[in-house]
């Protein structure tokens, strides 16, 4: 018996409950040494909870973790690291105001002198052919570089199991390829990799085995190389994938929403300025803005929605109105509604009821107030209408926004803006962290709104989403917008290059953006 190769890690009946939810329900699976194993599931399927238990951030209520054949108790991340588990987080566990070196030192348990540590870091960088300057402050780095810190931090511990939580959601296609190269090299040394994602193409490219979670339970196992993305998706969501229904031939109206030389000076440490942004969205059109996070998307949304007015006034136009100097209320009265990326505390106030959350943006257009007095009854009725029309799962208009699941709150926010019947709707990351059912409903609602003649601008990091949804798109990189591409004519490679995929080579990037601007 002892001659058998033992699995690197085996989970037996892992169960974890939170108030009101069973996050993991008797989850069992194993990962072999050197195997790249995918953990697949929708948002809320229980993937993150599961890996937090493997990494010792929380403990299971029941079940057993078996490491190299021995049952173990992972008390905390330190114990996990000692065992040989490394982790790269989805939301990076980095310290913005500190150097790369300090960040890595914090992830190491032994106290090593700075120079020794730096030496070891350079060794790892060399072995895996990665580029990173140990003395840079994290806040000055790109998202890809930040991820590299996490990877180096994990690699320095010479892990036996590396957990990657949604690692590619912030990378360009080219960066993804580079990451996969690193991971394959690592697995050849015998290190197992637990790869968490919902991106099925990538899993098919990279992984040798997959465990599929749904509602906290294991619902299937497969070899991704023998599956199609559709078959895996259907296992993941437990039903048929809904396709967006779009009229085959679409007619577009006049230019409705125009940015013409929109330029915003950079603010603070972390802001990226906007440089001469130009685009045109026609009535009835869905226009997409692709790009890796942190390239000016937030600034663009704030400038377009009126949260940050700018000048000159005609840098942004809605029909014949020059609106760049107007505030959000003024623009909304002209028919421009917006949905920001962050739901909690930006798109909605989590501590307020849904009724109060309608007053936030719909008070004028839906006549929920006049002469400075709020009409509670009208607001409640409107909130009820949003809940009904967009199938928001909640106990009623009086429940707090914070009590809704991410997908339901997103549906509520989208519904609140769409029911105001906007001339122009700007949406950032419309389906970020939303389950497939809600995502399909939101996509359909956007397409339907466009078919009624509204101009729609979608800012998203999810290229698949934009390609499915948009008629035309442009790519934002370091605050500059590329030429406009027609969806259907553009290739993923072309878009990927525009996203700044030639990272690590500043000259190439600069040349590229120059080239794009010349168009």
């Amino acid at each position: 018996m002892s001659n058998d190769i033992k699995p690197r890690i085996e989970l037996k009946g892992i169960t974890k409950a939170f108030p009101g939810v069973l996050a993991n329900d008797a989850v069992s699976f194993k990962v072999e040494p050197g195997e790249i194993h995918a953990l697949l599931g929708e948002n809320g399927a229980g993937k993150s909870t599961l890996v937090k238990m493997i990494y010792g951030i929380m403990q299971p209520d029941a079940g057993e973790i078996v490491w190299d054949g021995e049952p173990v108790m992972v008390a905390n991340p330190k114990a996990a690291r000692k065992m040989g588990v490394g982790m790269v987080f989805q939301h990076f566990s980095l310290f913005e105001a500190m150097t790369v070196l300090e960040n890595i030192a914090l992830g190491m348990d032994g106290s090593l002198s700075q120079s020794k540590l730096e030496e070891k870091i350079r060794e790892v960088l060399h072995t895996y052919d990665l580029k990173l300057d140990p003395h840079r402050i994290v806040s000055t780095l790109s998202v890809g570089e930040r991820q590299r810190i996490e990877i180096v931090r994990a690699l320095l511990l010479e892990p036996q199991l590396l957990i990657m939580d949604e690692p590619t959601s912030v990378l360009t296609p080219q960066e993804v390829a580079q990451l996969f190269e690193t991971l394959r090299r690592l697995s050849k040394t015998g290190c197992s990799i637990l790869y968490i994602s919902h991106k099925l193409h990538e899993i098919r490219d990279l992984c040798e085995a997959a465990t599929i979670l749904r509602g906290g339970k294991v619902v299937g196992e497969c070899d991704p190389r023998k599956e199609t993305p559709t078959s895996m998706a259907e296992m993941m969501i437990g039903g048929n994938l809904k396709q967006i229904s779009k009229a085959a031939s679409r007619e577009f109206g006049d230019d409705r929403f125009i940015a013409d030389g929109l330029t915003i000076a950079g603010q603070g440490d972390f802001g990226v300025a906007l440089d001469d942004i130009c685009f045109t969205v026609r009535a009835g059109e869905v226009f997409g803005i692709a790009g890796v996070a942190g390239n000016g998307q937030n600034e663009l949304l704030l400038a377009l929605s009126g949260e940050e007015p700018s000048s000159p006034a005609d840098a942004i136009r809605l029909d014949s109105h020059a609106i760049a100097e107007m505030d959000a209320v003024g623009r909304r009265n002209l028919g421009l509604c917006a949905v920001p990326e962050e739901r909690n505390g930006h798109g909605a106030v989590v501590d307020f009821s849904l009724t109060d959350n309608t007053i936030l943006t719909a008070r004028d257009r839906m006549e929920l107030s006049s002469n400075g007095i709020v009409y509670g009854g009208a607001a409640r009725t409107f909130a009820g209408q949003v809940i009904d029309d967009f199938a928001v799962k909640t106990t009623g208009p009086g429940s707090l926004a914070g009590s809704l699941s991410g997908g339901n709150l997103q549906k509520f926010i989208m519904g609140r803006e769409i029911l105001q019947n906007p001339e122009v709707l700007i949406v950032s990351q419309p389906t970020w962290g939303v389950d497939a059912g809600a995502a399909a409903a939101i996509h359909q609602a956007l397409v339907d709104l466009a078919e009624n003649g509204s101009a729609i601008l979608v800012i998203s990091q999810d290229l698949d989403e934009l390609l499915a949804l948009c008629d035309r798109l442009a790519v934002i990189n370091e605050g500059r917008l590329s030429k406009t591409l027609n969806v259907g004519e553009a290739t993923i490679d072309e878009i990927g290059l525009l996203m700044g995929g030639v990272h690590g080579d500043p000259f190439a990037t600069a040349e590229m953006t120059e080239a794009v601007h010349a168009h």
């Binding site: 939170f18 909870t49 010792g56 951030i57 929380m58 905390n76 991340p77 330190k78 996990a80 690291r81 987080f89 939301h91 990076f92 566990s93 980095l94 310290f95 913005e96 105001a97 500190m98 300090e102 030192a105 914090l106 992830g107 106290s111 603010q267 603070g268 440490d269």
Partner: protein
């Protein structure tokens, strides 16, 4: 000239600066860990009264200082329990601690009003400590030298030590620190207790060294000035030293102007000077670094790990 005027002035400046330096140094460490404790004034008063009472009872000042540190740290522990364990609002809890400290110290010190204690002795031989010129270096309370050593120690701790790195990390991003396995709450408790102990020393500097006696609200808002000083220093210990002595000078102005019979402006204006100066300094500091903040990113925010 120098002996009669300059030396007393320098010595009063050091005297006025030391307690706010001590209190601000403690608060700096607390804030670096991401916690804002506005209860500085209250903790200082608790320290002041405890130090005085214990010294008056035992006749031994170092014991008074230790008792002051323990008492003020205990009150800081109460603040920590409310804000860290029970995630209460830090601003409100700090205010409550100040109000509590004012009341409690007045209550506890009632029987000590009007009493005196022996002034803290000097560490140096009288030949140096009482020398007409050299006393400007050797003639201070031991707590003054302790405060200078502590500035150096805290500065080294934050910049060079691993524990300091962890403390800064916790203040910079509590969620990140938590996810790589550091005990955010544990680190913050330690910082808050340290801040309390420092406020305790600062408090008994008033009751044992400067006055030396006990009176209600002895610290007269200096705790708030210490809070402002942390902002002024941009959360750096060495600049704190500079700021404290600058403020010491402003406060000394009042005393010496009064003593010199300086009558061009009302004495009330001079009494208001330190507070006006604080506002002016805050305005200059805050306005200059628009957009870019030196404050720890998590300052004042309760730590709430997502499930």
């Amino acid at each position: 000239m120098t002996e009669s005027l300059l030396i007393p002035i320098i010595m009063t400046i050091v005297g006025a600066a030391t307690p706010i330096l001590l209190a601000a140094l403690g608060e700096l460490v607390v804030e670096k860990s991401g916690v804002l404790n506005l209860g500085l004034e209250g903790m200082m008063l608790i320290g002041a009264v405890t130090g005085f009472a214990v010294t008056a009872t035992t006749g031994y000042a170092p014991l008074g200082v230790v008792a002051a540190m323990i008492a003020a740290a205990a009150s800081a522990g109460l603040f920590g329990f409310l804000t860290l364990t029970l995630t209460a609002n830090q601003v409100a809890t700090g205010l409550a601690l100040t109000i509590f400290g004012i009341g409690l110290s007045a209550l506890a010190g009632e029987n000590y009003v009007g009493q005196t204690v022996d002034v803290f002795g000097s560490v140096f031989p009288a030949a140096l400590a009482e020398h007409p010129v050299l006393r400007v270096i050797f003639g201070y309370s031991p707590l003054v030298y302790v405060s200078l050593l502590l500035v150096a120690a805290v500065s080294w701790f934050l910049r060079k030590s691993r524990a300091g790195l962890i403390l800064r990390a916790v203040g910079e991003s509590d969620l990140s620190a938590h996810s790589i396995g550091y005990s955010v709450i544990g680190v913050r408790y330690m910082a808050v207790l340290f801040g309390g102990a420092m406020a305790g020393i600062a408090g008994c500097f008033y009751s044992l060294v400067l006055t030396p006696m006990w009176a209600e609200q002895l610290t007269a808002g200096r705790g708030w000035i210490a809070l402002a000083l942390v902002v002024f220093a941009g959360w750096r210990p060495m600049r704190l030293l500079l700021g404290a002595y600058l403020f010491g000078a402003v406060m000394t102005l009042e005393l010496h102007a009064k003593a010199a019979g300086f009558s061009l402006v009302a004495p009330e204006f001079l009494a208001a000077m330190p507070y006006l100066a604080t506002i002016a300094v805050l305005a200059i500091i805050s306005a200059r670094k628009t957009g870019k903040s030196l404050a720890p990113a998590c300052l004042g925010k309760p730590f709430k790990p997502s499930s």
